[in-house]
């Protein structure tokens, strides 16, 4: 598929065209804060608001594929059920490579074994315009996880090469969108492609604020030996069980399901909402029996899910993409997976 | 008609908080007329001691759910006074707008939900849905917009979050203000419809007058709710930091709550007081509403307080629309607030929907509160309600016990008392 070059002015037109022709366009925007800008995906209404120079978003883009709360089925009380599947199309602009890896993992997890039509319908109706990272966030360690750059998982990937963007269309959808929305974009030259590669090469090693002292492939092995390591109790001693690490993570997808009815008490809906395995009652059953009662058991579970359990479902791929969000979100500063894995590595030496 | 009257209303309904009415008359001779307040005392002034200056508004907001914005604002102003903090023009305007939202919300709630049933002869707004469904829906609609306005400015409807010493924790987005302005513009008509509904039953407001002193804030060229000095309709004006010598809170043997008096035995605070002191500065729409009811400056019928509230509701809608224009013209930006605590005393007054509200605090050098004195409008009105009662009962006694009781209840409601505000009511066991 094609590799095009879009000038910065042409880029504005490109985004404006998308905003004007497509319904739901979401892009990364600044959230003005007293202590400097922070970033979040939100409905994009003007090309000027798009900020592809961002470091990391507060929440990952998963909120558009697996919304914080969504309706699964609607029903009549005492009567029948009806699927509620959102078929709206949307475009996400500015997804970073590590978040793309996370989305790819979720795609696999929601489609393997039992096919989750709710997630998958949304996913298939979503066009992703990704962008290479222009600025490392304070906690990113994507380079350690091999997720700093990607070659697929997007429809279009944009790389800022200074005066212009190089746009790579990886799917037909992307190709069509590029032709339609950026008709003036010419093919990228050798030099442009070299400049693009330079950005990606830099990211491959440069997005590494926390350095994992082994390869990601070694993590399952480390965990196999580390189940009874003191690290779990040590770290979890100050865990609030607040689930911030779950909620900000692009690869966490556990959910809760609840019913609610209308005031008529005759009809209602069943929703699913984000949940977190660090929350105290996540594994509670009747009789107040909690299968992971201790903080350290829950804390350990999360890191095993990232580094061992989910990888088994994904053919080995580690379910931590190194975005570093949990590191920043954890108030007692214990959530950093790299710190745990490095400590396990130390212990096994 | 019997000449014996025995009214004993325990825990009067459709007011905020608890109040009792006791009237005894035998053989046409009035023996006892009393307005009592059995609200549980909550001791806010004692409770704020030891708390940091930036927690004060969070605490005192809980004095009253209906006027929580006024309580927060007056507390913040007093804290700022104590620490010599100057706020930006943007902060001032946003606070004003927030304050307007409470006036609108509270007035619509009071006239629409609590007073209107009296005028329609219904026990509550619930059966009113059957009698005047459109009116009820209109009232609900305006009330909702007032609440949305609070939410945008205060962070939520009740107990504001965004007001902090020195400014705002979060300012509204310009797009939100634009939307709000549209909503407000759309409320003018429904508001006038409510006015017309009330007008259609206004004959039910008793013709009762008693020469009264009215106390409110006053500022040049402004129908003020937020800035200015303390003024009496009798003439005197005092700066806000002398409010304790205006309220002159005192305990009287016959009363159950602390009373207030300034130049006479009692005074009235509230919409009618503001109107009587500032009517010339009402917005055109506010004036038009007042005119419809023939409300003119100098009115001393306490029942007209409800009409003054309607005029104010119209006024704040119109003023809010203007204020949003001003804010948008300048652009709304987040401002970082830095406060260095220092020792000192702080005084402030604002107009709560139901009347002038005073706070006073003392802080040590670390900004820890050492003491407080708070005086709420309902407290200031108790003595006046009592004196109104004393004049009202002989005048309307012939109408029989039921109508008299109803009249007294309406009179109390006209003051829009907010008894739960009671920071320091005396608490009496009733027989």
């Amino acid at each position: 598929m094609s590799m095009k070059k879009i000038s910065k002015t042409g880029f504005g037109e490109f985004i404006t065209h998308i905003i004007n022709t497509d319904g739901n366009v979401y892009g990364v925007q600044a959230k003005t804060e007293a202590k400097g800008d922070r970033f979040a995906f939100g409905p994009l209404t003007s090309a000027d608001d798009l900020r592809l120079d961002y470091d990391v978003t507060l929440s990952p883009p998963k909120k558009y594929l697996l919304p914080p709360k969504e309706t699964l089925v609607k029903y009549e009380v005492g009567g029948g059920y009806e699927s509620s599947i959102c078929k709206c199309k949307s475009i996400l602009i500015g997804v970073h490579p590590y978040d793309l890896v996370a989305i790819k993992q979720m795609d696999e997890l929601f489609s393997q074994d039992e096919y989750d039509t709710h997630y998958m319908t949304r996913r298939r109706n979503t066009t992703i315009i990704a962008c290479d990272v222009a600025k490392a966030s304070p906690n990113v360690f994507a380079s350690s996880m091999g997720t700093a750059t990607v070659t697929d998982g997007y429809d279009i990937l944009l790389t800022d090469i200074g005066g212009a963007y190089v746009a790579h269309a990886a799917t037909e959808k992307g190709e069509a969108l590029l032709t339609e929305a950026a008709p003036s974009a010419g093919d990228a030259t050798e030099a442009d492609i070299a400049a693009r590669k330079a950005v990606q090469d830099k990211n491959d090693t440069g997005l590494n604020q926390h350095e994992l002292k082994c390869g990601p492939a070694d993590i399952p092995g480390l965990l196999e030996k580390g189940y009874d390591s003191p690290v779990w109790e040590e770290k979890a001693a100050t865990c609030y069980s607040c689930g911030s690490c779950n909620l900000t993570c692009p690869t966490c997808y556990c959910f809760d399901v609840q019913d609610d009815v209308a005031w008529s008490l005759k009809e209602g809906a069943r929703h699913r909402a984000w949940d977190g395995c660090l929350l105290e009652n996540f594994a509670n059953v009747a009789g107040d029996h909690n299968f992971r009662k201790k903080r350290e058991a829950r804390y350990r579970h999360r890191l095993y899910r990232k580094g061992s359990y989910i990888p088994k479902k994904l053919g080995g791929e580690i379910a931590c993409v190194g975005c570093g969000r949990c590191v920043g979100a954890c108030l007692p500063d214990i959530a950093n997976p790299v710190a745990v894995y490095n400590q396990l590595l130390e212990e096994t030496k | 008609m019997s000449k014996n009257i025995n009214i004993n209303v325990k825990h009067m309904t459709r007011i905020e908080g608890h109040g009792n009415i006791v009237v005894n008359a035998s053989e046409g001779k009035v023996e006892k007329v009393e307005w009592q307040v059995p609200e549980a005392p909550r001791f806010f002034e004692a409770m704020v001691r030891g708390r940091k200056y930036d927690d004060i508004q969070t605490i005192v907001s809980r004095i009253c759910g209906i006027c929580s914005i006024s309580h927060s604002l007056v507390a913040i102003k007093a804290v700022e006074d104590a620490m010599s903090i100057k706020v930006s023009e943007q902060t001032d305007k946003l606070r004003l707008l927030m304050h307007f939202s409470e006036q609108l919300q509270s007035h619509v709630l009071h006239v629409g939900y609590l007073v209107a049933p009296d005028l329609f002869g219904a026990p509550s707004v619930v059966p009113l849905v059957g009698v005047a469904p459109d009116a009820v829906k209109t009232i609900i609609g305006v009330h909702r917009v007032a609440n949305q306005m609070s939410e945008i400015l205060a962070g939520r409807v009740t107990h504001p979050i965004t007001v902090i010493p020195g400014g705002f924790s979060k300012v509204p987005e310009e797009a939100q203000l634009r939307q709000l302005q549209d909503l407000l513009k759309a409320q003018v008509e429904p508001l006038l419809a409510i006015v017309d509904v009330v007008l259609s039953v206004a004959a039910g407001l008793p013709a009762f007058e008693r020469d009264t002193e009215y106390v409110s804030l006053k500022r040049d060229g402004d129908y003020t709710f937020y800035h200015g000095d303390i003024a009496s309709s009798d003439g005197p004006v005092k700066p806000v930091n002398e409010w304790e010598s205006v309220a002159n809170e005192h305990v009287v043997a016959q009363s159950t709550a602390k009373w207030a008096k300034w130049n006479r035995k009692s005074y009235m605070a509230g919409a009618l007081a503001r109107f009587n002191n500032n009517a010339e500065h009402l917005s055109p729409l506010g004036k038009a509403v007042a005119d419809k009811f023939g409300l003119v400056k100098g009115c001393c019928n306490p029942f007209m307080n409800n009409v003054a509230q309607l005029a104010e509701a119209a006024h704040v809608v119109e003023k809010s629309i203007e204020l949003i224009d001003e804010l948008l013209a300048d652009g709304v930006k987040p401002e970082e607030v830095k406060v260095t605590p220092k020792a000192g005393k702080g005084y402030a007054a604002v107009e709560a929907p139901r009347g002038i509200l005073f706070h006073h605090y003392e802080f040590n050098k670390d900004g820890i509160c050492q003491g407080a004195n708070l005086c709420i409008p309902t407290n200031q009105n108790h003595a006046n309600i009592q004196l109104d009662f004393e004049a009202f009962v002989p005048q309307f006694m012939d109408q029989g016990e039921d109508r008299l009781r109803q009249g007294l209840e309406m009179l109390v409601r006209a003051y829009d008392p907010c008894v739960s505000c009671s920071t320091h009511f005396l608490d009496v066991q009733f027989v």
């Binding site: 607040c242 108030l331 | 759910g65 026990p123 979060k170 305990v251 739960s420």
Partner: protein, 248 residues
Amino acid sequence: MSKPRVAIFDFACCEGCQLQIVNFEEEILDLIGAVDVVEWREAMSEQSTEYDIAIIEGSITRPEDAEKLKTIRERASILIAIGACATIGGINKLKNNFDLDEVKEYVYGEDAKMPHLNTEMTMAVDEVVKVDYKIHGCPIDNQELAYAIRCLLMGKVPVIPDYPVCVECKSKENVCRWEYGEICIGPITRAGCGAKCPSASFRCFGCRGYIDNPNVDAARDVMEKHGLTAEDLKSKMVLFGSKQGPTI
């Protein structure tokens, strides 16, 4: 089945929670379609001694209030406490940190000795009678109350969060108040409010009470990391959390 009869009562409080019921706006018509509101002093003149569900606002500060509450409990088959004053004692419990005689004297001066000024330690509703459900918050979130009432009508136990405010705060994509050095007690406070305060860039001050099992060690650790003391933390926790009982 006939509609359940609901009565709403208030004790020492600001009545802000009842105001949230008024703030249902049009939904109030749905509410009165689903239940019979037989008593609600703030908004109605109707009164009744017969009801199935009693909704209680406010804390108990006087012996006569405790007696009244007990009578209500006897009459109601379901009793719901709404708002911090009722569920945890709320702001009213700040008083309990002082000597009560001193408190009275501070506010009333010489008159403090008058017998009718009797006040006792503030109690949450469940310190006096059994409470079936608690709708937390100062003020309550009226949608949570609406949900809980619908659940009861369906014969279902309402699912009230037992996790901290941070959960909702994170899904709102707020910047943590701790990044500004503010003492936010969201990590130990029960969620359900939708993280309204941090969403308005203001620290959580704990109006919904603590979660079942707050991690005090973590709180201490975090205070240290931010160069603050346990006293600073206590000063914030005391606002709504004075002498707090269990929250569920």
